[in-house]
Symmetry: C2
């Protein structure tokens, strides 16, 4: 295999998958592999290679965080039920040192959380300096199911897009690179995955009857997703559509997006904050 | 390679490495591989295999946690500087789904932490149901450097062993399996690792001049560790000595201890909390 900077990619993942390139979610092909010209076998081999690149960059980020650099990365994962958010956390997050991760899943808000504004629980979970944060669901839940089911009045949820933009701008200003990914499965693939969960006793725990109810609101969700992209995609906190019918591709794509974000930080190993020669002399003298 | 229940181990790691078997830390050989009769090559191959076993057990624990089982596992890591605690988190923690981990490092206490009793920050970090918690340093810091340097009066630190035992008993009663590991390097190996950190610019960030100062208290630390083993090792929250000169062995040993703890939970896949046949029918009817 010839080695070039982004093997397999005709154009960078961050461009090919950006919602401004992919077109509307309602017409998006969950089976496609935008920007990538390899098959599953190649993709899996590549993920192992690129995983090492990601791991090295993550260590560099972590080292800089320890040395006082305030930068961090936040990966926001959204997606239909069964789209594979958990698989991304496991198989992409699993490529790097778990100490360097700050993973937070957001379920139905607790009573205490509901007593605060919707960003309260989110702010508490933003990644510390030097970490890669992963949100498995996020503040976007507050304009997805909440919008679809009008869990709060429209007058309230409609104001949240702007609050989200302000929040993310603050994050970026504070040194966090924000990458947002919406995983997209087709209805057929979702049905196949739900079927599988009911066929295997080791998958029952992943099955939630409520997923079928939510599927009844498929088109409303597409509309709610499109609203997010239209209102909260920007160069500082871009949204990407990740076709997720092919799990191998979704993992590779998210890995590439993280690599891209980390490369842009142009990190170097932190300089010693001690006198290297003096310390070498001290160590050499140890018994 | 023939397959038996614990390949490579003449006796279970949990027994061979238990402080009651290994003898005093002052006479412990950091180069040894108690209970294990393989070399590095075999050990590394075995770790990859056993890592898959660990990952499967971790998923089972997680699934049960999601289904309402309150059990969890807590791995407490202590060790001299350079002993490789971080490497254990990376290479053993890295074998499982990072979502299933709750990793917490304990550094010098903050001002806020010092305003509370020493267990306050610890209690906040205990693993939730279904998780494997890893403490990189722990409440034992409060009877290790604190004791060696009398950072609080002896009358205060000497009472902590009993408080620790009570705390750990509570944890166990609440469903947490507690495994405690002290990683041991020899003085020669520590010197070699410190030297290496000063030879490579990508290792500078791991070097702390204070480590050399602490090395001056080596024998005091051995005494403080021995006091921990004598006062806080018990069948519910056992201490293990992990010889850490051979990194591959330390990782394999800790992996085995985790597998052993998880196997003892005798976990099965959670039963469905829904009517499987009815749900199969619903899914089959989806368009």
């Amino acid at each position: 295999m010839s080695r070039h900077r982004k093997p397999g990619w005709g154009e960078p993942a961050a461009e090919a998958l950006r919602v401004t390139s992919t077109g509307p979610i309602a017409e998006f092909d969950a089976e496609s592999t935008p920007g990538f010209d390899g098959d599953k076998e190649f993709g899996e081999t590549l993920l192992a290679e690129r995983g090492q690149v990601l791991a090295d960059l993550q260590e560099l980020l972590y080292a800089n965080g320890r040395a006082g650099d305030n930068r961090s990365v936040l990966l926001v994962l959204q997606g239909m039920d069964t789209a594979g958010k958990g698989g991304i956390v496991r198989h992409v997050g699993g490529l790097v040192d778990p100490q360097g991760l700050a993973i937070k899943g957001f379920g139905k808000p607790t009573e205490e959380e509901l007593e605060h504004d919707f960003l309260w629980r989110i702010r508490k979970a933003v990644p510390p300096a030097g970490r890669i944060g992963i949100f498995d669901r996020s503040h976007y839940e507050d304009v997805l199911p909440v919008r679809v089911h009008n869990l709060v009045p429209e007058s309230e949820w409609s104001g949240r897009y702007e609050l989200i933009n302000e929040f993310e701008s603050e994050l970026v200003a504070a040194g966090t690179t924000v990458i947002k990914c919406a995983l997209v499965v087709s209805k057929d693939e979702q049905k196949a995955r739900l079927t599988e969960r009911l066929e295997r006793t080791d998958k029952y725990w992943k099955y939630n009857p409520g997923d079928i109810d939510e599927r009844g609101f498929w088109d409303d969700y597409l509309e709610a997703y499109q609203a997010i992209f239209d209102k909260t995609d920007n160069d500082d906190a871009p949204w990407h559509l990740i076709p997720a019918n092919k799990k191998w591709f979704a993992r590779l794509a998210v890995c590439e997006l993280l690599i891209d974000a980390l490369e842009k930080l142009e990190l170097n190993w932190p300089k010693a904050d001690f006198d290297v020669e003096a310390e070498r002399a001290r160590v050499a003298e140890l018994d």
